[in-house]
Subunit: 251 residues, 2 copies
């Protein structure tokens, strides 16, 4: 089973948009896929059309071991795609986990209880390098790092890759960076081209060939609770995520 986390402590870089659309495309390709929303903002949850009143179990209870995790798995409008939704309680988990033994392994232990139910798990992370993100990195086989084509986006990369190395050495030797995904690329702006070039210069082959363009359809889709493949499959955004999947699953 492949477990892929979308991680970047910089906010608003496209972690949720990428999680939802990668997971949806994998479902469309008949891969039994689970999306875990590990962000208390619960944007991936509403991005797939689930709201707090239409589910009663969440990743919070499943991760702390209070319930069988299968009780927190819900179907979505996409066949082969299920979601483990987030609620705001998850914000408390960061502080509650601090004093627990094996506090970095709670998510990994939970995922083991799901057995072979899924072929691929996608985990959407909050904009921080706290215990929720550390749990995701400890549980994952791979990491995808969305990087917005803006100046501040490059600044945080060194700290992020250091954290990944630390987790790899101390907690999860299997962990590897699957790729760096350039997002919100606006071909009219010199800044976008400059940041994309700099990322490829510093990170080389780690950067996916596919670049996600800035595309208003991608930011409209969540207000309908739909991934882009259902909202507007002919859009530039949908085409880009479709190309990206070829780089993710052609192992």
């Amino acid at each position: 089973m492949r477990i892929i986390s979308l991680v970047n402590q910089k906010g608003g870089v496209g972690k949720t948009t990428s999680s939802v659309n990668i997971a949806a495309m994998l479902g469309k390709k008949s891969k039994r896929t689970l999306l875990i929303d590990l962000d208390p903002q619960a944007n991936a949850t509403s991005g797939l059309g689930l709201y707090e009143n239409n589910f009663n179990r969440s990743v919070y209870e499943a991760m702390l071991g209070n319930i069988d995790p299968r009780q927190a798995v819900y179907p979505t409008a996409i066949s082969n795609l299920s979601i483990m939704p987030a609620t705001k309680d998850l914000a408390g988990a960061e502080i509650e986990l601090v004093s627990e033994f094996n506090r970095e392994h709670f998510l990994k232990k939970m995922i083991t209880k799901l057995g072979d139910d899924f072929e691929i798990i996608i985990i959407d992370c909050p904009p921080s390098l706290g215990l929720l993100t550390i749990n995701a990195l400890t549980a994952s086989t791979e990491v995808i790092i969305p990087v917005q084509c803006e100046y501040f986006a490059l600044e945080g990369l060194a700290r992020l890759t250091q954290t990944i190395d630390t987790v790899k050495n101390a907690l999860n030797p299997e962990l590897k960076i699957k790729g760096v995904l350039m997002t919100m690329y606006d071909s009219r702006l010199g800044l976008s081209r400059q940041v994309d070039e700099e990322a490829r210069q510093h990170l080389g082959a780690l950067v996916f060939e596919t670049v996600i363009p800035r595309n208003v359809k991608l930011s409209e889709a969540p207000s309908f609770g739909e991934p882009i493949i259902n909202y507007d499959k002919k859009s530039k955004g949908a085409k880009a995520y479709k190309n990206l999947i070829k780089e993710i699953i052609n192992v």
Copy 2:
């Protein structure tokens, strides 16, 4: 002394861009201003042209009480504007503070030691509602909430205003919301107009009249370590922040 925090747990909504440019405009208006960077990403620090190798004291040491906070105050290229820079060590403060007595009051205690050095303090917060942001809310007289004109931006507002109410009742009765600032408004997009209208419908007079437009000059300026007033004072972004200042300091 007025202490204004820029807060929103949603990432990438313009907290840092607003903090830097509000603080710079206040400095230009000869208000003795301090910008405190309370985000371990340290974007406000580099946004004003400071990098880890040109300062040796930071808000981390000042807040934990290890040094006189004045040692962590540095001048910037703008007269009347000083900065208390962040370093990545600040990320550790969240966990270190959990078990301290009065953990929510460390920043407030530190600011008291600055006496009357400043007329206005602006605090840039990280994208979370953890202990760093709670410290900022406990220390503040006012909060400005930047809201990106995108769908996900409205979702988190209820949780944020609840947190502000809780801090107001339990920790800081003076705290009030100075205003909600709509950011990255793109007049060509229906989504921008829709989110702006919805915010004004739900929040009424709390929403500033000034709207910050999407303007590439604002995202280019940080790569030169300059606020917009120095980088391109004739830009739409500079004009918008100049108008905003009139709504902030015409008390």
